[in-house]
């Protein structure tokens, strides 16, 4: 079925734009970049239509990638370059290529003014985006953990490149480094998981591993599950590794929408859902995932309450929603997690792109305190963002409602405590998104820039995403679509739970309305009354500072004092320099012999001869 063509189109786009883009006009760069992603999308469509119901995975083997050892032997490795497509992959493919295409189109408008300090920034941006699409598609298509890992690392690289896109700004390069380094911690866990899988199952192919996993001892599966979770925590920004994602907003806004909201950060959820066989046999690991997920969801939501940078609000919101997805997969509701992955991709991409449109309209302003009253000035952006607003708040019948409800329902089966924290988080989510909307679009305009509506190339993708945010949940019933892919989940209907979570969302909106619109001074006075907790969440629980004090600075200081000053300068340099200077000292003494006077040389020869003869006389001549 030529699955390989799906990632190859963006790769070709990357190569063409990356190599020749400098000489291309902007419209040619656009054609190559967007054309390649659209072709990829169309090929996904054609493939899915041709393959029919896909109840079993369709696997394509291209070539043997790594082979080592003797077949049947103890450490035989045979890893093929295999792509596979099943229903889970189909969902991911549509999310990645569909939303990817929309964001590529949007980027034409957003990056139109790109020039100045980053000469060539325009083609570079699109080349990186295409490269990202390539790796992301390899990630979802790969039929083994190793191929998934290739995509996993590749998207990490592209994330790094795009966060640091404005590399002449210190904060952007720092944020890029932070994302890359924090992800290394997660990848370390993932690598260990792969080693452990290989040791136990002798293969990294999904079908072989899952075939054997059911009969493996539980502690092995729990270990693998927890190690995989470490990897997922890095990529999907969960406690304790979530700290890179808010900083990643230093990149251009379409990047935040595509990579850091819709696709790459959901790779951890995808990987967990893909490994469902392992997790269903390791309930301990599932519990850890659910707990980490709910803790992240709640903590990030509280931080989101007090942020003033519009992109930071949505960044913490992304962390929080990813926590929701973890709750879903951790509660055994894998399809609900993937469902939320999809709807979140719709509405969060829309929120980011809308925020990008606002920032574009205000010529770069990101602080919500300098916004307000933009409802009239940029109406299309406003109305499309309203669609995302109701979707993320969980208002029925919009997309976020269905997926969030599915997760909360599963969580209730698993543990009512997680459910209640989830409901509270849903209320907080509705509150902070409403707060962002009210501060941005309502009230009086507080800024200085002259807002202007974005061009059609930007608002048309917004409109499509708005339609998906509103109706995507109804149209694409992921849990039913994936029913065959995952173990049967208990069908429960509990309208009461649904009413509670909807009520939480509505009350979040209502409280935000009262605090930020009806009684405008109330937010500030509340912040003053509860100044200690307010400062705590405003400063993000000081997590960055704690990490600096406990991890970063000890490592930096240790490297500087012990490794650099001590070992490198002291031992290694000292050894090399010491040998050199001892040689010079000895040479300095021997140099005295080289007087340049023939007579003194002759005297030394005579002296040597006399010494030899005397020695021979004393010790009895030459040895026989």
């Amino acid at each position: 079925m030529q699955l390989w063509l799906i990632p190859t189109f963006p790769l070709a786009g990357f190569l063409i734009n990356g190599i020749f883009g400098r000489r291309f006009s902007k419209s040619l760069v656009n054609t190559v970049a967007i054309g390649s992603v659209l072709l990829s999308f169309l090929w996904v469509l054609k493939t899915v239509l041709a393959l029919g119901d896909l109840n079993t995975a369709h696997l394509e083997h291209y070539f043997t990638w790594i082979q080592s050892g003797v077949p049947g032997g103890n450490h035989y490795i045979n890893i093929g370059c295999d792509f596979a497509i099943d229903r889970l992959t189909v969902v991911m493919l549509f999310v990645v290529t569909g939303i990817g295409s929309l964001i590529h189109i949007y980027s034409i408008g957003y990056m139109a003014h790109e020039h100045g300090p980053n000469f060539g920034g325009y083609y570079r941006f699109f080349a990186y985006l295409n490269l990202f699409m390539f790796f992301m598609l390899v990630l979802v298509l790969g039929a083994s953990y190793l191929l998934l890992f290739v995509g996993w690392e590749g998207v990490g690289l592209c994330s790094y490149l795009l966060i640091g896109f404005y590399f002449d700004k210190k904060f952007a390069t720092t944020a890029g480094n932070k994302a890359f380094i924090v992800n290394r911690i997660g990848d370390f866990g993932f690598s260990l998981a792969m080693f452990y899988i290989f040791i136990n199952f002798g293969s990294l192919d999904f079908d072989k591993v899952f075939h054997q996993a059911a009969s493996a001892p539980e502690w092995v599966l729990t270990t693998i599950g927890l190690l995989l979770m470490v990897g997922a925590c890095g990529k999907s920004a969960q406690i304790p590794l979530y700290i890179w994602l808010p900083d990643a907003m230093a990149g251009p806004t379409p990047v935040s929408a595509l990579i850091h909201a819709a696709t790459m950060v959901t790779a951890g959820v995808y990987m967990t859902a893909r490994s469902w066989v392992i997790y269903t046999h390791a309930p301990g690991a599932m519990d850890v995932i659910a707990i980490v997920g709910i803790a992240t969801a709640f903590m990030a939501a509280t931080i989101g309450l007090a942020q003033t940078d519009i992109k930071k609000v949505f960044a913490y919101s992304t962390v929080s929603q990813l926590g929701y997805m973890f709750v879903g997969v951790g509660s055994g509701a894998f399809s609900a997690g993937v469902y939320h992955l999809m709807t979140h991709a719709f509405f969060k991409a829309l929120l980011f792109l809308g925020a990008g449109s606002v920032i574009h309209a205000l010529s770069g302003e990101q602080d919500m305190r300098n916004m307000g009253g933009l409802r009239k000035k940029i109406p299309i952006t406003f109305w499309t963002m309203c669609c995302a607003w109701v979707a993320i708040s969980g208002i029925p019948p919009f997309s976020g409602f269905f997926s969030k409800d599915a997760i909360l329902l599963a969580a209730y089966q698993h543990s009512p405590a997680i459910y209640w924290i989830g409901v509270l988080t849903a209320g907080l989510t509705a509150f902070y998104v409403s707060r962002a909307m009210f501060m941005t679009f309502f009230g009086a305009y507080r800024g200085k820039a002259h807002p202007h509506e974005s061009p059609a190339v930007m608002w048309v993708p917004l409109a499509i995403l708005a339609a998906l945010s509103l109706f995507g949940g109804m149209l694409f019933k992921i849990p039913e679509f994936l029913k065959a892919s995952f173990p049967a989940e208990a069908e429960v209907e509990n309208p009461m739970l649904m009413y509670i979570s909807v009520a939480a969302g509505l009350s979040g909106i209502a409280i935000a309305y009262i605090m930020y619109l009806a009684k405008t001074g109330m937010a500030d006075s509340l912040a003053r009354t509860f100044s200690a907790p307010y400062r705590l969440i405003y400063n993000k629980y000081f997590v960055d500072e704690i990490y600096d004090a406990t991890v970063v600075n000890p490592i930096l200081g240790g490297s500087r004092i012990v490794l650099w000053k001590g070992i490198d300068s002291g031992v290694i340099d000292g050894l090399a320099n010491g040998i050199a200077s001892r040689c010079r000292d000895v040479g300095g003494i021997l140099r005295l012999l080289q007087s340049g006077s023939i007579r003194s040389y002759a005297s030394w020869i005579l002296f040597g001869g006399v010494v030899l003869i005397v020695a021979m006389g004393l010790f009895g001549g030459l040895p026989r």
């Binding site: 007087s595 340049g596 006077s597 023939i598 007579r599 002759a602 005297s603 005579l606």
Partner: protein, 103 residues
Amino acid sequence: MMTAVPISWFLTLSAILFALGVAGFLFRRNIITVFMSIELMLNAVNLSFVTFSYQHKEVAGHLFTFFVMVVAAAEAAVGLAIILTVFKNRSTLNIDDVNSMKN
């Protein structure tokens, strides 16, 4: 017996000649004298060779003597040519003035 002169006398003479050569090489300044001292040392060694050759009834000592003579002749040709050139360039035969290798 051809002679009644004992072997040790020849060796003593050889040693005296050699010591004279060394002394001349070390203490004389004139290049030609130094050169002649070298020849003297070579011939002192030749005398030792011949003496031992005679004593041990071995022909190898004679052979060495001829080698040394050949080399000495060649050396004399080259050495005298060098001395001539040195004198032409520097107008001196004082060995202490010919020290441009130093420094």
